[in-house]
């Protein structure tokens, strides 16, 4: 008998029959997958957030495997990359960017110490074979990514060893030989990659031949030819062109003697040469650059294009810099330089809207020098390139590197719009992805259209200040020509550094949404959640209050219009 009185009671939890989900008016919460800024900024395409997540779980090898899914050379990039990821890192809004490059380097070194296996398998015996010209970082990355796509790769390299500028130009104080040798050997030793050294395009092979023998031809010859340099027609008899001088130094360990040196340029070659000349005993070394040193007021597009750490160390070592300046005139004694006239300039917008550099009358001054080293850039050596070179570079038409010729793609420095090791590595990955898609009869892989998570999208209240790891460094007095300057931070600091990662735009599995939803509408379930988090929204009960989105530390939850899908 049903007795219904004011004292009757309802069954436990029967409110579940009442679906409050229809109270939502305009917005509903959703897991959005935004790119972490570090990832968005990485030219090699690494997802730092993803590998920091593995480190946070305590799995270093998994972190390395995640890292090398994009970049096979972390021990190298961890040492030389200008790390735009750190510049982009949202942690700047708390107390400072993560020391991403130090962690990357440690992972690369640790993989070699422990001989972790690259996550690739040997391609089939009859898999398509891709020809790659040039075994610099770009070519090596391309070869590695061929394996990831089930393709074989054959590298043609004119030098006796692989490595490109890593070996021939970047000083050992920044990138020890042992590191290059060990990491390249591990990649080039993977089954499915064949390396022909002393094989020069134009001399030993031709593009047409390669096209006949291979499924595609990737050109990664870098830029090996110095640009011509003269000041109003004056060219000193003993002109030392920057890259040439540097390569000679790398081979023989010596540079010509000079007391007062001017280096003219604003890139890595200029910076490395300044430091080498200073260390070789030059009294003064002055860098003349049209660009500006980084600083709060500096226009980012005008800032000198070098690894920030290198600039810092060069200044520490006593290199002087005259920014926003150029060389107007060389003061000669016969055919020897004995001075240079410097003039201030600025990058200003011209009549047509395009900016150009304008020299200012009345700012000329003369510096006494006995050597001027131009480092104003290099171009592609056109030999064997079938006339594909246009004004010094290969200038492909898209991000994959396509050239006018069918099945021929360009990557790395030779493109003309690149300039770092990480760029070249990223190019290798992109070019191979396009080749693989084409071979499979598919259209080009789509660009990652996800938005980027800015620091304003995070809830910074859930992170506390933890100071950034500081790498040990040789004191200026102890620096030599071959001892590495920056040291290893070590496992403990790596793990502590990983804890600082805020997981921008991705789920941290922190439970905040699950804890703070007043309506129990967040369900924690590792089994059913398939989107990289461990949580589902129960839309039957979610009232759309927005608390979960506001309290999600990483911005992974956002309120979307009710109509939106997903």
């Amino acid at each position: 008998m049903t007795v219904l009185t004011r004292g009757a009671y309802a069954g436990p939890g029967t409110s579940l029959d009442f679906k409050t989900g229809n109270w939502r008016s305009t917005e509903k919460p959703a897991h959005i997958h935004a790119k972490a800024p570090c990832h968005a900024a990485c030219p090699a395409g690494e997802d730092q957030q993803a590998w920091f997540a593995k480190l946070q779980e305590g799995h270093a090898e998994d972190a390395w495997r995640e890292l090398v899914s994009a970049n096979p050379l972390p021990a190298i990039t961890g040492r030389v990359c200008p790390h735009p990821c750190e510049t982009a890192c949202n942690r700047v809004a708390v107390e400072g960017a993560l020391a991403i490059h130090n962690v990357e380097r440690w992972l690369g070194d640790e993989a070699m110490r422990r001989n972790w296996a690259y996550p690739v398998t040997e391609p089939a015996e009859d898999a398509p074979d891709v020809a790659i010209v040039g075994a610099g970082p770009g070519g090596v990355s391309a070869a590695y990514h061929c394996l990831r796509h089930g393709l074989r790769a054959t590298l043609y390299e004119t030098a006796p060893e692989a490595g490109g500028l890593l070996r021939s130009a970047i000083p050992r104080t920044r990138l020890p030989r042992e590191t290059i040798d060990a990491e390249l050997a591990r990649v080039l030793g993977l089954p499915g990659i064949t390396l022909h050294t002393r094989a020069r395009l134009g001399r030993d092979v031709t593009i047409d031949e390669l096209k006949r023998k291979h499924a595609a031809v990737l050109l990664a010859p870098g830029c090996q030819e110095g640009k011509e340099w003269s000041v109003d027609g004056a060219v000193p008899a003993d002109l030392h062109e920057g890259l040439h001088l540097l390569k000679e130094f790398m081979d023989h360990g010596a540079v010509p003697e000079a007391k007062n040196v001017i280096v003219h340029g604003g890139g890595n070659t200029a910076m490395d040469l300044c430091r080498i000349m200073k260390r070789s005993g030059a009294e003064t070394v002055t860098l003349i650059t049209a660009s500006v040193l980084p600083g709060p007021d500096a226009d980012p597009s005008d800032v000198i294009n070098v690894v920030p750490r290198e600039l810092e160390e060069a200044l520490e070592e006593g290199v002087e810099v005259i920014e926003h300046a150029t060389i107007n005139r060389l003061i000669m004694k016969g055919s020897q330089v004995c001075g240079a006239e410097i003039q201030s300039l600025r990058k200003l917008p011209g009549q047509d809207g395009r900016s150009r550099r304008v020299g200012f009358e009345g700012t000329e001054r003369v510096i006494n020098v006995d050597m001027v080293i131009p480092c104003i850039g290099e171009r592609v050596d056109p030999e064997g390139l079938n006339g594909l070179v246009d004004h010094g570079y290969l200038r492909p038409s898209d991000r994959f590197g396509r050239l006018a010729e069918e099945r021929v793609l360009a990557l790395g420095d030779a493109r003309g719009d690149r300039g770092t090791v990480a760029d070249a590595i990223g190019d290798g990955r992109l070019a191979v992805s396009a080749v693989a898609a084409q071979l499979a009869g598919e259209s080009d892989p789509p660009a990652d259209a996800r938005g980027e998570m800015p620091s304003g999208g995070l809830n910074l209240g859930y992170y506390e200040g933890i100071s950034r790891a500081v790498a040990p460094k040789l004191a200026v007095a102890d620096r030599t020509f071959d001892k590495e300057i920056e040291g290893d931070i070590g496992r403990a600091a790596v793990m502590a550094e990983a804890e600082r990662c805020m997981a921008c735009g991705n789920c941290l599995a922190c439970d905040n949404c699950w804890t703070f939803c007043p309506d129990n509408a967040v369900i924690k379930t590792e089994e059913l959640a398939v989107d990289g988090s461990h949580y589902l929204f129960d839309m039957d009960f979610c009232k759309g209050c927005g608390i979960c989105a506001h309290e999600c530390p990483t911005g992974f939850i956002q309120m979307l219009p009710e109509e939106a899908g997903g």
Binding site: Y9, P12, S15, F18, G461, E464, E499, N520, D538, D540
Partner: protein, 355 residues
């Protein structure tokens, strides 16, 4: 129609109205739903009728998670009682009794005595709003504490009589506007001060009395667990923002609660037998305006043209500074249990070594 028939018809009508289908048997279900598999006790379920972003609903859920399942509740009249039990449904999954507005503590005392008589260990909880605790239920509460009943009394403090339309209570902060303390030409909101209830409770010399906030869930739950283990009267007041009454965006509930603590207006303290035994230090003390400016109930204090506004802002700042001084809330150095340290998250929950 027979009485029985009438009842059945009425029940059918109610079920029709609330869309209730008879529940399938819950026991022995072949597959556990993800909801049933949640790794926490769901003493207060979904489907309750609290407003979007209700701090009180959240606070009650957090309390239930670590108090249940072997508890029974006496709940005073107020929002919590109303929104959880819209007949014929209940969001509770423990024995729950609706007392009157004024007597939750008295009813809980009786329940506790009954449990004792039956030789049962089931802990009795008493829930009330600030109206039901600071005001009308106060003498019943005082009696319960003085008679030393083994009851945990939780006051969900949303700083006004919300269920009846935002009337001021003795817990409403100074200068807040409510329907019975409206800001206008005559007054800048409530003229009087927020009652220092915790000190009065402490004067009963009970084993444990504390304040907590929905913004610091881990701290709140630690306090509940501690109180559950005490054999005797314990008291918890939980700061629970009300988006409707405080007039803030529903998404800002936690943010508002957090700022109340960080500015010093709602200090988190623990008192045992009359003595302060712990406080949550504030790592970065915020100005009260950070807290006030998020809420419509203080909007009149943000008008620069009104000189009274500046004075009231200064008054509230002085009250916050007073709390910080008397409870020693300013942290000397970063601490894992201070306002920032308690909030910090890490992968898969809170960093090791935190409460």
């Amino acid at each position: 129609m027979s009485t029985e028939g009438q009842d059945a018809a009425r029940l059918a009508e109610l079920r029709q109205k609330f869309g209730r289908e008879p529940l399938p048997p819950r026991e022995g279900e072949a597959e556990q739903s993800p909801r049933d598999a949640q790794p926490r006790f769901r003493g207060l379920e979904s489907g309750h009728r609290a407003c979007q972003g209700c701090g009180e609903a959240l606070a009650a859920r957090l309390v239930m998670e670590c108090a249940g399942p072997d508890v029974m509740i006496a709940n005073a009249t107020g929002c919590l009682e109303v929104f959880t039990t819209a007949w014929p449904q209940s969001a509770w999954r423990v024995p729950w009794v609706h007392s009157l507005f004024e007597n939750a503590a008295a009813v809980a005392s009786g329940m506790e005595a009954a449990m004792k008589a039956k030789g049962r260990n089931t802990k009795v909880l008493a829930f009330g709003g600030d109206g039901g605790t600071y005001d009308i239920g106060f003498q019943a509460l005082s009696g319960m504490l003085e008679r030393y009943h083994n009851v945990l009394y939780v006051c969900f403090d949303n700083e006004a009589y919300m269920n009846t339309g935002i009337q001021r209570s003795s817990s409403t902060p100074h200068a807040a506007t409510t329907t019975t303390s409206p800001a206008g030409k005559e007054r800048m909101g409530k003229r009087h001060l927020k009652k220092d209830l915790l000190s009065i409770i402490a004067a009963h010399h009970i084993p444990f009395a504390a304040s907590a906030s929905v913004a610091y869930a881990a701290d709140l739950q630690r306090k509940v667990r501690y109180a559950m283990g005490v054999d005797g009267p314990t008291f918890l007041v939980v700061h629970s923002p009300c988006p409707l009454g405080w007039r803030h965006a529903s998404a800002m509930t936690i943010e508002v609660a957090r700022r109340a603590v960080e500015c010093g207006l709602f200090p988190l303290v623990e008192i045992e037998r009359g003595a302060v035994t712990n406080v949550m230090p504030i790592r970065d003390v915020r100005p009260v305006t950070d807290y006030l400016s998020l809420q419509g109930r203080f909007a009149h204090l943000m008008k620069d043209a009104d000189s009274r506004a500046a004075e009231e802002r200064a008054h509230l700042q002085a009250l916050a500074d007073y709390n910080i001084e008397v409870f020693g809330l300013r942290g000397d150095s970063p601490d894992a249990a201070d306002t920032t340290g308690t909030a910090v998250v890490g992968r898969s929950g809170r960093p090791a070594g935190r409460i």
